[in-house]
């Protein structure tokens, strides 16, 4: 359910709740850098379900439950574009889908010179991808477009 924390009047919140409940299944599952509205296909691609959508100060977050148990969270800026995705679960999501056109930038990005198999940090221009995890416990990570982070949003919130 959407939660409004910025002190709007209750009626506005209620209207938004009704609106988002109606639109929720249609708008969740955006791809990084893409408009929120273009994402219907993603949920279908992931054979996923929407767990929640929530408005926070400065952005909206959609939480998507993937069939293997992984949670995918997508962060939408006030301009309507997805500026970050984050994941946590037994396996990472198919990042080709979640990162869209930015996936190729990850593929071509060099690894750090002393990489191990438990951590990843990639920075390619505006794109930052970070992850960690180990077998059995699972994996968590995030990808964001640094210049697209709305003002006032803390990096620590993007998980």
């Amino acid at each position: 359910m959407p939660i409004f924390r910025s002190g709007e009047i209750k009626i506005a919140a209620l209207l938004c709740t009704v609106l988002m409940t109606a639109l929720g299944p249609r708008i969740a599952g955006a791809t990084l850098g893409e408009p929120e509205i273009t994402v219907q296909s993603d949920v279908a691609q992931f054979r996923a379900s929407i767990k929640s959508s929530e408005d926070r100060v400065g952005y909206r977050i959609h939480e998507i439950q993937l069939p293997g148990g992984t949670l995918l969270r997508e962060f939408v800026a006030p301009d309507g574009n997805v500026f970050a995705v984050a994941w946590n679960g037994p396996t990472p999501p198919n990042l080709r889908q979640a990162l869209g056109k930015y996936f190729d930038a990850i593929v071509s990005a060099p690894k750090p010179r002393f990489a191990d198999h438990r951590h990843l940090q990639i920075q390619q221009g505006d794109l930052v991808v970070q992850g960690s995890g180990h077998m059995r416990a699972g994996f968590s990570g995030r990808a964001y477009l640094a210049s697209a982070i709305p003002s006032g949003v803390n990096l620590g919130d993007l998980h």
Partner: protein, 404 residues
């Protein structure tokens, strides 16, 4: 730096050639540049921290294993530089170094079983095969293991490469080892792959589709398949000078309280939860998803007071002066080990000052994701310790546990 690397590579190649020309004794056409195998009956394998087969490893622990075609005593190969990893489960070998043809496991449907292993930073695609595995004097008969990059299964499912950042880790250079020996504190790396699919296992006929897999066909911690000494293993490494060493040699001892050389004695037992994790307390924070992991090459934790390196090695910390810090570790059984101290040095300084060094006890880095509940204590934890990783029952407890 490039010159030093080139010299190191040259030296490595020379040592490798010397080792191969010396033979390695025995059967097969294998690469045997590691230490000679101990006599049969021995439960101790040699381990080493060195530059690795890609000449690009730090704080990585390696051993050698021998694999044979199931039932054969002549079609065998000894492979060195197998990474010893207490944070994963099962034996995985890189196809480019494997000269044997090992039989692929088939499912009830008749399709081949192929796995997409995700090591976070990439994907490793290849079939599950069986082999008789030997290490020290121990043998695991008909052990399921993975062959990564096997040319018999060249087509990687899109979902597999998508989960693994599109980065194939199917060469020695990309993987950083000739294989990996996962000896974590459970029998299996997947808790429910017999009933649920996670994009890990695939049934491959004309195409590959995700599948559930009976536990007997999944790759287990090989120690659990030994005839004896099968309740866990012990990593024993000497202490290291604070600024590092070129190499470090030690022992991987199989079994806990099964022989005179693997007794628990007064070791402290910390049981792990179902995720193989412990609770660590650092800087007043309780970090419930923490772990001790020989497969992590540094000490990874979040501390905004320590600067991350800039320009190079940005995945590590670069404090102005070495920081001495402390943490506490608590097991799922409530047992607490307090005030373990560790140093955090300047990564750029240590990596650039002694470029022949591969052992860095004070190498540390930030956690790369928004994951504030984790402290990942890597191989440095094992330096100067004897760390038991128990799967089954011992004289002092029942696995899964870590003791030291």
């Amino acid at each position: 730096m490039a010159l030093m690397r080139a010299l190191r590579m040259g030296l490595g190649a020379a040592l490798c050639l010397a080792a191969i020309s010396c033979g390695g004794g025995g059967s097969g056409r294998g690469i045997s540049s590691g230490p000679p195998p101990p006599p049969a009956g021995n439960n101790v394998a040699s381990v080493i921290v060195d530059q690795g087969p890609n000449n690009q490893s730090v704080n990585s622990l390696f051993t050698s294993v021998t694999v044979c075609v199931p039932g054969s005593t002549s079609s065998c190969q000894t492979i060195d530089h197998i990474q010893v990893d207490t944070g994963s489960y099962g034996l995985r070998l890189l196809a480019p170094v494997l000269t044997l043809t090992l039989p692929v496991e088939t499912l009830a449907s008749g399709n081949s079983l192929v796995e997409c292993t995700i090591f976070l930073d990439g994907f490793s695609w290849g079939p599950v095969v069986t082999a008789d595995m030997q290490i020290a004097g121990e043998t695991a008969k008909s052990l399921p293991l993975q062959v990564i990059g096997d040319s018999r299964f060249p087509t990687v499912p899109a979902n597999c490469s998508g989960m693994g950042m599109g980065k194939a880790e199917d060469t020695v250079s990309a993987f950083g080892a000739n294989g990996i020996l996962g000896i974590g504190p459970f029998e299996l790396g997947c808790g429910n792959c017999d009933t649920a699919t996670h994009g890990i296992y695939y049934a491959c006929g004309t195409t590959c589709v995700e599948t559930v897999v009976p536990t007997a066909k999944q790759e287990p911690n090989p120690v659990t398949r030994f005839a004896t000494d099968n309740n866990g293993s012990i990593v024993a490494l000497p202490a290291v000078a604070a600024n590092g060493e070129v190499t470090l040699t030690g022992s991987l001892i199989f079994g806990i309280d099964t022989q005179s050389n693997n007794q628990s004695g007064t070791q402290t037992v910390l049981t792990v939860n179902d995720l193989a994790e412990l609770t660590m307390t650092f800087n007043g924070q309780t970090l419930a998803n923490s772990f001790i992991d020989s497969g992590s090459n540094a000490i990874f934790f979040a501390d905004s007071a320590i600067p991350t390196c800039t320009t190079t090695d940005t995945d590590f910390y670069c404090p102005g002066t070495t920081q001495m810090l402390a943490l506490s570790i608590q097991g799922a059984n409530g047992v607490m080990v307090n005030n373990l101290t560790f140093g955090v040095g300047n990564a750029q300084t240590m990596l650039n000052t002694n470029q022949t060094f591969n052992v860095f006890p004070e190498l540390a880095g930030p956690l790369p994701a928004g994951n504030p509940g984790t402290f990942d204590y890597g191989l440095a934890f094992f330096y100067g310790k004897r760390v038991a990783v128990a799967v089954g029952a011992t004289s002092v407890g029942t696995g899964p546990y870590i003791a030291f």
